[in-house]
């Protein structure tokens, strides 16, 4: 049977991409971020996941407002690398898992009544790729895990509520558990933490809020899922609403799952958080 073996909440920022591609990870300003992932990668080698389900948001690379889905699930055998306006990064295509994707789609729609947009093609970009770079570094021939993108609208209000995202995670957990093949799955929720990228409040961060969010995510996720977009935006900046995707990850692991790693670093304009859970 399928099993969710772990969950990872982590921030994505586009600037990490070129740092990885140009091998700048040991520069003083970046080293604290990358060092935090060394034990995470060792942990993942012990967990031996076959598939990463990456709950992320596109930043107008492959999805556009012509038609903008609330929840979009990839059901492809591979995912191309997208161009978000700065050129295509030199990365191998990401292998998908069609069988698991199709099962998750059917389970979420029929059993759990999440009306997904189903995507036969998704070109993935930094929201997806930066978490993959940090947790599952690729080799020349490819990536060490298969991956399934689950794209969430966090950029054009009305957004799904935090509670809806948490429920989606719970449904994802049940969907994986009812998959007949023995597949070990890690669910990643990515985005944020505190940041605002426009207006006079550009560059706003709130470490106190971010640490509070991490505390609650670990101890009281059901309570935390009652947070409103308004509260997140007021306390952590307009773009911090990406944090609702961390709740999908949290819903996908057991309520009593053990927290393994936790880290926080806020060098420039985004609180870069990291938290992991093991079943």
């Amino acid at each position: 049977m399928g099993k969710v073996v772990g969950g990872i909440g982590l921030s994505h920022v586009p600037s990490v991409g070129p740092v990885v591609d140009r091998n700048r990870t040991q520069e003083p300003a970046w080293k604290p971020l990358f060092d935090a992932y060394v034990p995470v990668r060792e942990w993942l080698q012990r967990l031996k996941p076959h598939v990463a389900i990456v709950v992320y948001n596109d930043h107008a690379a492959d999805f556009s407002f012509d038609k903008y889905p609330t929840f979009a699930l990839g059901v492809a055998e591979r995912y191309a690398i997208g161009d978000e306006g700065f050129g295509t990064r030199p990365l191998p295509e990401v292998p998908g898992d069609f069988g698991l994707s199709a099962h998750v789609a059917e389970s979420l729609v029929y059993e759990h009544e999440f009306d997904l947009t189903i995507c036969q093609e998704i070109a993935v970009e930094h929201g997806f790729l930066v978490p993959m770079n940090l947790c599952f570094p690729h080799a020349a021939h490819g990536w060490p895990v298969r991956a399934i993108p689950l794209q969430v609208n966090v950029i054009q209000h009305p957004l799904p509520t935090a509670r809806r995202c948490y429920r989606l995670g719970q449904a994802l957990r049940a969907a994986v558990a009812s998959y007949p093949a023995d597949v070990r799955v890690v669910v990643m929720g990515t985005g944020g933490m505190s940041h605002q990228l426009q207006g006079k409040r550009f560059g706003f961060m709130n470490e106190k809020f971010d640490q509070w969010f991490l505390d609650r995510l670990e101890a009281e996720p059901e309570e935390l899922a009652r947070i409103t977009h308004q509260e997140i935006m007021e306390q952590a900046g307009a773009e911090a609403v990406e944090l609702i995707m961390w709740l999908t990850m949290r819903g996908a692991v057991a309520p009593r799952a053990r927290r393994v790693h936790r880290h926080y670093y806020a060098p420039m304009t985004t609180g870069m958080g990291l938290i992991t859970f093991e079943e």
């Binding site: 107008a60 006079k200 560059g203 308004q230 935006m233």
Partner: protein, 113 residues
């Protein structure tokens, strides 16, 4: 419903409707050929997307806050920024009314760029 937040743009459907032309133009900049076309002849490129004179002027002036107020989504704005040599932090400094250096001085680790 959402309430206004000082010094903050909340990208809702009204703003998205206002910014339709601008966001279409920005979305095109995800293609290398379109980026070249934009750099070759900005005026022709803007006309192709049916921008109003006021919208064209915001791009001509690199008025990033003006573009946000006109309905450009921040993640779309990044593509114009990139095509015009204005990365996120340069655009942010302008939106804060600061020079790039002044803005960098407010950061915890200014080397993380």
């Amino acid at each position: 419903m959402l309430r206004p937040i000082p010094d903050t743009s909340i990208f809702d459907l009204r703003l998205a409707q206002r910014g339709r032309r601008l966001n279409k133009l920005c979305a095109a900049l995800c293609s290398p050929a379109e980026r070249d076309a934009f750099k070759r002849d900005e005026e022709a490129f803007m006309s192709r997307f049916g921008l109003t004179d006021a919208e064209k002027d915001l791009i001509r002036k690199r008025d990033f806050q003006g573009l946000i107020d006109a309905g450009t989504n921040i993640y779309y704005l990044l593509k114009i920024g990139s095509a015009t040599g204005n990365g996120l932090y340069k655009m942010g400094a302008q939106m804060r009314g600061e020079t790039y250096e002044q803005f960098l001085a407010t950061r915890n680790m200014r080397g993380a760029v």
